[in-house]
Amino acid sequence: MAVAELHGGGIAEHVHPEPHGFIRKYIFSIDHKIIGLQYMITAFIFLVMGGMLAELIRVQLMSPHGTLVSNDTFDELYSVHGSTMVWLVIIPMLTGAFGNFVFPVQIGARDVAFPWLNMASFWMFPPAGLMLYGSFLMGAPTAGWTEYPPMSLQGAPGTSMWCAAIFLIGVSSTLTGINFLVTLLRMRAPGMTLTRMPLFCWAQLATAPLLMIATTALGAALAALFIERQFGVPFYDPTRGGSPLLWQHMFWFYSHPAVYIMILPAFGMISEIIPTFARKPIFGYRMIAFSSVAIALLGFMVWAHHMFTSGLSPALQLAFMLLTMTIAIPTGIKIFSWVATLWGGKIHFTTAMLFATGFIVTFTIGGLTGVYLAAVPFDLHAHGTYFIVAHLHYVLVGGSLMGIFAGMYFWFPKMTGRFMNETLGKWHFWLFMIGFNGTFIPMHWIGLLGQPRRVATYDPQFWSSNFAASLFSFIMTFAILLFFVNALWSIRRGKPAGHNPWGARTLEWQIPSPMPYYNFKKVPMVFASPYHFSDPLPYRGLEGELDPSVPAPVPAGHH
């Protein structure tokens, strides 16, 4: 490769000095770590917004004929709540925030493949959020985050705004997927073979194609809905030859893979946290890595399990039922491997580890109810009820959100150089567990007994369970509030953590905290997988990364 080409080919972008000035450094940054933090902060803001909508829902449902809001407003609440949580919280958090912040360093890269594109992706996110919330001004969407036509064709003008907002965040996701895939495949440090990659990188590798392919299908569905609403072009309206089921196919062809976008990176984080604190190699590295890929592939073949009652032919229902069930196998492999990693460990129960172990239990509950729903005859009963609401929160809150909290406590020292407060963290964990289970366990029950979802008023026989759910949801909110207090306080006042407070072995922990602009002075050489706790670190070329004045690492998780 000619040297001249090297210099012209964009290399200069990579070696130019760290930018100065607040705007270049923190606003229009092209540094993957800053972009990661930008995603994180934005997503947390939306978590508060979406969470407040959820609490309004719960207040309305405290009595069977709640009068807090009108029916129409209530419909806006859960529609925007669901849309916010899925597209503005969990997906940006797991890919944009943790993906950006963590995996490029873990593979020994200095940045992602396309830093400018990365910045562009981020800057589509806040406007998309503003558009979604702006739709409240013109009448927000009411047909849920799934926006089934023909209902969504009749929705308030804000429904078109919703289409545009989700389309925009979808473009952002797609570009992020492309960026991450190229980075993972082409920018690994010397010696970082695929099977030496940390499992979080494997999780991102499985997620990136989902972002890239599934999201585009959603884009098409949204574009068609927008066009139909604004220009009267018939795709979905049955009275004009369109088909409402077409939307359902296209939407779920995206949204089922999307639920794996929302869980695979969390699986990856758990796979980093558990071995670190159990001080044991992750059990069954290859199986965990492989199962992420298997889940991603299977994820494309099961979408119609959301449509069992909508009039699919029995043959299709049968096929989708059986395919859906198979996903329990790779997922089970992960769960069992984590449990086996705990066995014989020297487990240090930091808050991060508490959330990771809690994750195993609560996600399993959500996954198991997923298998219930996969069984068509059972789904004929449970579809469209609070049982679904319970399932989705067990996987999304007990899975994705718990994973995010675990990741926050784990990587906070890397982001800021300081610990989060562990005492507050433990309060956060236990109150969250109580609040979360108390909120969503009763929903299984009332769903099976006859409470449909998306209702502003309900049969008085379900009052007590709903009331309990609401009370517990306040506890959950309080727990999350503690988290925010903790994080904000710890940014300035937290105990200094040094570069590797947990004695972790992946690359990001071998360089200073916060990480320097180019991550590595010299790109390291990798010669083994990171999880062998009895062996020396498998990296060469890291000498001199750490300034001698930086205090020595706190020994294995003691502080």
Binding site: G10, I11, H14, I178, V182, R188, V523, E543
Partner: protein
């Protein structure tokens, strides 16, 4: 696979060089990224194609009432124009690689002109459909929805391609690329072929299968 696998930075052959080696394949990165972009673009088309096939299966019949058969002969002619532009683009790139700037320029301009010709043909076809059959985007049931959306999307891609090629052409005139260093041209060619291939599918699905 991994970039610069054999390179050991600690062996210290000059740090700057180590850095460059690691990022040497920026060109590859761009082309890889571009290929993936085309994959997702393909998914976008596939989704609308799926929508079209799905709607076609539902009760209204195809072509739906009021729309007579599409004019295959004209569309075939127009397709030849488009595929021809694929060929000229190929020659343009080959000549660039061999340093024949003038030939390159000729083929490139031919590509742009043929692309524009295809677009005019499509415009003419839309016009006929509209004046003869009152077929419009929103006023012809699922025919309008699928035919105009898909061919329109394709037409838009052709249009973007023409802009892209024009920019590339101006860049080559301005000396941005060299005989060894022409990643932009490679991507332009890939894109143009991609647009051709999409048309193969659209043409067979709308015109040949009526």
């Amino acid at each position: 696979m991994a970039v610069a696998v054999a390179h050991d930075p600690s062996s210290g052959s000059g740090q700057a060089h180590g850095v460059d080696r690691l990022y040497a394949e920026t060109r590859e990165l761009r082309i890889n990224g571009f290929l993936l972009f085309m994959v997702s673009d393909l998914v976008l088309f596939s989704s609308f194609i799926f929508a079209y096939l799905y709607l076609r299966q539902t009760g209204q019949g195809w072509p739906p009432p009021g729309i007579s058969r599409l004019d295959v002969a004209f569309a075939a002619f127009n397709s030849v124009v488009l595929f021809g532009s694929g060929a000229t683009m190929h020659f343009a790139l080959e000549n660039w690689k061999h340093g024949n700037f003038n030939k390159y320029a000729g083929w490139m301009l031919a590509t742009i002109v043929l692309g524009a010709g295809f677009l005019s043909g499509q415009g003419y076809e839309y016009w006929t459909l509209y004046t003869k059959f009152h077929a419009s985007w929103s006023g012809a049931g699922i025919f309008g929805a699928s035919f105009f959306t898909l061919t329109g999307m394709h037409g838009f891609h052709v249009f973007m391609g023409i802009c892209y090629l024009t920019i590339l052409f101006l860049q080559t005139v301005g000396g941005v690329y060299t005989k060894q260093k022409y990643a932009g041209l490679t991507m332009g060619t890939l894109y143009w072929h991609f647009v051709d291939i999409i048309w193969v599918f659209l043409f067979s699905m709308f015109y040949l299968w009526q």
